[in-house]
């Protein structure tokens, strides 16, 4: 396999007059991957995407596409295409002419343009709407036109700037699946910017979680979710029970409450201030196994939401943990608890993360 990454950011920074948007970013994106840049708004993910696309000049560092330094090249001379958040369709052109725009710029023969535009409209299921004006289409249809317009050029990399943000939830879920299918079909590297962690988890091969212009963690969805490297990643990806305390000899003494047994950790010196993170679904309320870290608390709240029930358990005054139980067929009725009960709970040591 070709080891040259499709996209490489090498020490890329972007500073605006009054702020720094991206700080010394190093990033490799493997060819053929569905890669997500995930983070809250203002974290620098869109700025990074714009630097790959050529709409923004890095203040320092370089952008490489397939090993070639393109930092100084304008957007029209980079083999990447973009799906914009606003779709940025050309309202004065028909759907077909929108899609044909890039091919015409390249000087592709008319017959081939017609054929490729037709194929692409089929792929995004817009075959019947070729002659319509973008303004007359629905949001989802406009989104497909934007996708077709970019993909028809067969770019090495497709950049997507929150393309689903403007769609309603149901349509968004449907498009997530479709987008992933299309990506597999065409085999093009997708770089996908989003602030929605569910979207990133379900679609991506790899995710880079960004915060304040830096990459906090880059890895597979499982990696990022199960083994968050930083406190930010742990809290941004899904819900986490985050507690702060001091590490000492295999235990973390919480600021308020008991010491949690976390097992001996190498690389953390005694007396270090740390955060402890346990996912709600990783906490057990019954059927304990040997070797688990066991604790005791009072159920303060139960929140029933169909397939799951969330219990808020007070471990100590001011320290409340959220615990998620699946209401599956195997779950027993007598294993439901109500408010005020004191219960035992526990987790496997590997599910308790200590973040320096």
């Amino acid at each position: 396999m070709d080891a040259t990454p499709a996209v490489r950011l090498d020490g890329v920074s972007k500073r605006f007059a009054d702020s720094s948007a991206v700080h010394r970013l190093d990033l490799d994106i493997e060819a053929g991957h569905f890669f997500s840049l995930l983070g809250p708004s203002g974290c620098g993910k869109t700025t990074s995407l714009r630097m790959i696309g050529g709409f923004s000049d890095p203040s320092e560092g370089s952008v490489l596409l397939a090993g070639e330094d393109v930092t100084a090249l304008p957007p029209n001379r980079r083999n990447v295409n973009t799906v914009f958040q606003s779709y940025a369709l050309f309202d004065h052109l028909s759907v077909a002419d929108n899609v044909a725009f890039g091919l015409k710029r390249q000087g592709v023969a008319k017959a081939e343009i017609r054929q490729r535009v037709g194929e692409m409209l089929d792929l995004v299921q817009l075959a019947g709407l070729a002659d319509r004006r973008p303004r007359t289409l629905s949001g989802g249809q406009r989104q497909r036109v934007a996708l077709a317009r970019a993909l028809v050029n067969r770019p090495a990399v497709l950049l997507l700037d929150e393309p689903l943000a403007a769609l309603d939830l149901k349509l968004r879920r449907q498009m997530q699946v479709e987008l992933k299918q299309i990506q597999r079909e065409v085999g093009i590297t997708f770089v996908f910017v989003t602030h929605d962690q569910d979207e990133a988890l379900t679609m991506s091969d790899r995710i880079a979680v960004m915060n304040e212009g830096r990459i906090e963690q880059c890895g597979t969805p499982e990696d990022v979710y199960e083994h968050p490297a930083t406190r930010f990643v742990a809290s941004f990806m899904g819900t986490s029970n985050l507690m702060t305390g001091t590490y000492r000899a295999g235990e973390v003494a919480l600021e308020q409450g008991p010491a949690l047994p976390v097992g001996a950790r190498t690389g953390i010196a005694d007396g270090t201030a740390v955060s402890v993170s346990v996912r709600p679904e990783k906490i057990w309320l019954s059927d304990f196994e040997p070797g688990m870290s066991m604790l005791r608390g009072v159920i303060r709240e139960t929140v029933y939401s169909g397939p799951t029930t969330t219990y808020l358990i007070e471990l100590a005054p001011g320290v409340t943990l959220s615990v998620l139980e699946q209401n599956t067929a195997r779950a027993r009725m007598e294993d439901r608890w109500s408010g005020g009960e004191t219960v035992e709970f526990g987790w496997r040591p590997e599910h308790c993360l200590v973040l320096a």
């Binding site: 605006f16 007059a17 009054d18 869109t46 700025t47 714009r50 709409f55 923004s56 304008p74």
Partner: protein, 297 residues
């Protein structure tokens, strides 16, 4: 070059393309600078220039043109022009307010058509309109006939060749500049605000004074400036509607350049006119700044 440094950069906007946009801007800017700014500077320079024996302008430094402005003959014209222009502003406000109010609040789906019916003829030929207006206001015209018929005028009442005629001409010429900003302000005004005012203050008059009027003050201020500027510089109305005793500063300027051939004096008068207008503009800007500052608080 300092001029090319970005004045402000906010958000994501990048400066990648600034070079090209400067080229877009340059021809128009150079054209305007070359023709307009240069010519205005020339007026200022010539205001302190002289003329040779044949009446051709000469550059120099001679304050006789500027000093001549103190002549009572000129100060009187200036005062009259100012009076006419301010009176025009006041009358335009009085006419435009009810018209804009009626259309904005009661126009329904004919709103746009009604405003277009006002705006379209106003942007049509100014001269022909003024000429038609002078016929309407003439001694045998429909207005005086109607006034005579209801006993508000007698056989000796005249409108043309009086100050009333000149102001009527200015109002007719420029009232649209008051209607547009007032209409825009009233359009933006939430009708429920007026209804809330009815609840709060009771009578429609009090509602108008405490709710509608303050909310449209900016529109009225903009309208006053938009009417004042052209009214102060107009010379057609005084020519068609007025007599020798009603001339305005515009007529003086025209006279100095076409009949009198005293260009330095004409230029000095032009600068004087600009000065009055700039004072008016400055007053307006200070007023709106203050309003905006109050609105922020």
């Amino acid at each position: 070059m300092a001029l090319f440094r970005p004045a402000s950069r906010t958000g994501r906007r990048d400066t990648t393309g600034n070079r090209m946009w400067v080229w877009f801007m340059l021809p128009g800017t150079l054209w305007m600078t070359g023709f307009l700014i240069a010519s205005l500077v020339l007026v200022a320079v010539l205001a302190v220039g002289t003329t040779d024996d044949l009446g051709n302008p000469r550059f120099g430094f001679d304050l006789s043109g500027v000093r001549a402005l103190a002549d009572p003959a000129y100060t009187e014209v200036l005062a009259r022009s100012l009076g006419y222009a301010l009176l025009t502003c006041a009358i335009c406000l009085l006419i435009a307010y009810p018209v804009a109010y009626t259309i904005a609040l009661y126009g329904g789906r004919y709103k746009h058509a009604l405003i277009a019916a006002i705006v379209v003829p106003f942007f049509a030929n100014y001269l022909v309109r003024m000429y038609g207006w002078s016929v309407v206001l003439s001694d045998d015209g429909p207005v005086l006939r109607a006034l005579r018929a209801v006993g508000l005028a007698d056989g000796s009442t005249k409108i043309l060749n009086t100050g009333v005629g000149v102001v009527a001409g200015l109002v007719y010429g420029f009232v649209v500049f008051m209607i547009i900003p007032l209409y825009a302000a009233l359009e933006r005004l939430d009708v429920s605000l007026i209804e809330a005012g009815r609840d709060l203050y009771g009578g429609p008059v009090r509602t108008f004074l405490y709710v509608t009027l303050p909310a449209t003050r900016q529109g009225a201020a903009a309208g006053l400036v938009l009417v004042f500027l052209p009214a102060m510089g107009d010379f057609v109305s005084a020519q068609l509607m007025g007599g020798p005793d009603q001339i305005m500063i515009g007529n003086l300027i025209q006279d100095k350049f076409f009949q009198g051939q005293n260009w330095p004096l004409g230029s000095a008068l032009t600068m004087l006119l600009m000065l009055v207008l700039l004072i008016g503009m400055f007053g307006y800007l200070r007023r709106t700044r203050k309003d905006e500052a109050e609105a922020r608080r």
